[in-house]
Subunit: 328 residues, 3 copies
Amino acid sequence: MKLFSSVKDVNNLQQFVDDALALKQNPFAYQSLGKNKTLGLVFLNPSLRTRLSTQKAALNLGMNVMIMNMDKEGWALETEDGVVMNGSTVEHIREAAAVMGEYCDILGLRSFPKLHSREEDYSEGLFNKFVKFCGVPVVSLESATLHPLQSFTDLITIQETWKTSSLSGRVGEGLPKVVLAWAPHVKALPQAVPNSFAEWMSRAQKEGMLDFTIAHPEGYELAEQFTDGAKINHNLEEALQGADYVYVKNWSSYKEYGKVLTYPDGWMLNNEKLSPTNSAKVMHCLPVRRDLELAAEVLDGPNSLVIQEAGNRVWAAQTVLKEMLKNS
Amino acid sequence: MKLFSSVKDVNNLQQFVDDALALKQNPFAYQSLGKNKTLGLVFLNPSLRTRLSTQKAALNLGMNVMIMNMDKEGWALETEDGVVMNGSTVEHIREAAAVMGEYCDILGLRSFPKLHSREEDYSEGLFNKFVKFCGVPVVSLESATLHPLQSFTDLITIQETWKTSSLSGRVGEGLPKVVLAWAPHVKALPQAVPNSFAEWMSRAQKEGMLDFTIAHPEGYELAEQFTDGAKINHNLEEALQGADYVYVKNWSSYKEYGKVLTYPDGWMLNNEKLSPTNSAKVMHCLPVRRDLELAAEVLDGPNSLVIQEAGNRVWAAQTVLKEMLKNS
Amino acid sequence: MKLFSSVKDVNNLQQFVDDALALKQNPFAYQSLGKNKTLGLVFLNPSLRTRLSTQKAALNLGMNVMIMNMDKEGWALETEDGVVMNGSTVEHIREAAAVMGEYCDILGLRSFPKLHSREEDYSEGLFNKFVKFCGVPVVSLESATLHPLQSFTDLITIQETWKTSSLSGRVGEGLPKVVLAWAPHVKALPQAVPNSFAEWMSRAQKEGMLDFTIAHPEGYELAEQFTDGAKINHNLEEALQGADYVYVKNWSSYKEYGKVLTYPDGWMLNNEKLSPTNSAKVMHCLPVRRDLELAAEVLDGPNSLVIQEAGNRVWAAQTVLKEMLKNS
């Protein structure tokens, strides 16, 4: 594995999930693999879970970790080609990426969208240039449009808590019903987490691992390239019927790009709204705004998986790093 | 040991001090104890000595260390319950603490008081919630009201430089006279260091290890819960008579909470003021403002212990971490 | 080796270069040397290459690394003696340096010049006080006037890419012609990199390893203490005749201290300007502003050594740390 930025980078989805759960049982089994190898984590935006869980995953594998907070410790990066650099950017991503590739065996990059131009964000220009010029394997720590370590974690967590030991190969039997449910927020958030969740769950649905529905108010349609095969519902109550997993997440509009649109009342999940579900487990990538995105009573109740889910970020990252180390 | 936030968390004070001095002689003796264990250091406020000495202590024990500068790399934390989080805080301490507990075997937390409300600061709400929700052992790296790693260090340093190999069990013989002496400053500083020093020295006095006096101008009384048994003196010259150790520190008023009050001249320690002492050793937790809190001539002279004291922070932290690792 | 701040700290220049290239072949050969040793990296200014390459070098040697971003995580340092510290500085460098020396076996310090006063910057007051008070070996990570890890790297890179296996001992044969060429910039930059490059190349020239020329517009003369024996040319075209290596770098005026002076057109190196050279290799310390300091066509073309050069920073740092560890 030379790149992990999308579910498309994974060959065998069930095997990938099984590998992660095996690492959780035996975290230090592959320490010789990482000996004298260095992971560089490059942050153009803040991070808590991704930073700590990926660092922990690398340490479990015996790797060294070097962290670079580009926004705080470094320089403003130029990403356009053909520009005379007489403004505020002090280094081009061509050199910055290549140099970091000289010092690290694997690199991770976090870079949020600006939410100004859909074309710019969805081209993934910065991320793709970083991959192109650094010359070493790259793990996305969340890009403008996708957050694959989060979505891989989410699938691991669904497998871990589902009643059968393998989601795959159960055709004809009951599949878990997974609902991605839009939630309110006061700020305009990226679409990276829901895009990515939709991409991974659509793939899992295609492979017969689960049943996938997206619920959101009108105007909050996600980019179709990520939602192939998903059932879309503008009625939250209807969508939640019989759900086994509800994945709560706010995102800003893709159509009216980066905007916070008006929406009908009743989109914040609480215990009452959970009643028509199949005692659904509730997931969220965190950070979560209590009683705005998701009722505190749900977060503090028995249905919440959010902490277990966050903990599983380690095994997602460790599975990816292990695959990259095996190739190197 | 599951918590280190106060002298009350220590069973046998003399043994704890002796353990620290033994680690100083043999820093790498317990490296197998920390193998594959991770210490997370969470800073809500800046730190130099605490950061480096605790990191060094963990490395000496073979641990991995992950550092999280929440104020710079992370998010503003909500600490109140029942709040609709539609303002500037982006994550509740319930989730933040629990998530960090998923990634770390032991956590350290630094969080200063706001000095706005005595009730709020002295409730230690943030620190206690962090302890409650993270689910792993916690070391205080300085809280709103106490700085136990510093005070433990101070007792270690007194033992190390005193003429008898054990402070305890010398009843009837001369005990070291220790004086905590208030000093001027231009800013309103927390009471955490003097509270903590008073708490540790009062306990040590009760156990017959030393004799403890506090000198400060009127209005600068510390909270009584920490000063039990201490002699209080508003006359610095009188308090210093025959002192063996003078611990210099500024703090803001506890009574007129967080205020800098007017005070009589003559509270900055210099060589002249040291003359009635028993050639007292001078201590300070650092950072120190030269010729404002403490005369440069004292800092640069033979009585100063401040650098040795700062160095001993490693052995205090290492003793605490070793106890926590033994339990895990 | 107790100090690395100038080429004067190196006894045998050719041997030092050969050691670095041997480490590049065998990066992990000296891991027992660094076991349980700690390198502290102290940044008063931002850093990308120096931070990562020095950290990597230390990890290769089996050392632990602790990083302190003083400007962001710490305190404003006082460097003057005899000052009443009642202003904005919160700790004196005497205590800060001494304390860091308690926790680290070797320290690295980065501190840029302020470019206000030539006397202040060229006295290297802050750097020298840090060395004096910390009590452990110190590596310069770039000081007010010199950047020796960069210049050592540059000599390593020239040796690595030159046609003979040793630059020394070839008297009578063709020596590489090395040209330091001033380049335009929009900001006032320090003279540390060109001073240091001149210092190292002048020494190498004296030892018969190469031929050294400096090209710059009038008014951009470097301090003579660093340029002993160098040919100075105000005509770029003339200076580049037959060059084997062109080292491109902007710097502000030393004479009109810290000023950006007007200069004639034609000082940005491009492919056309390279034609009278001996297919010269082009070097730059990075970060570089494309099409302002140096043409993008050169950076992206076959003559550029900039990425290889940045990669070699590891071996320069590792050679220095290895020498310091051998002594300790």
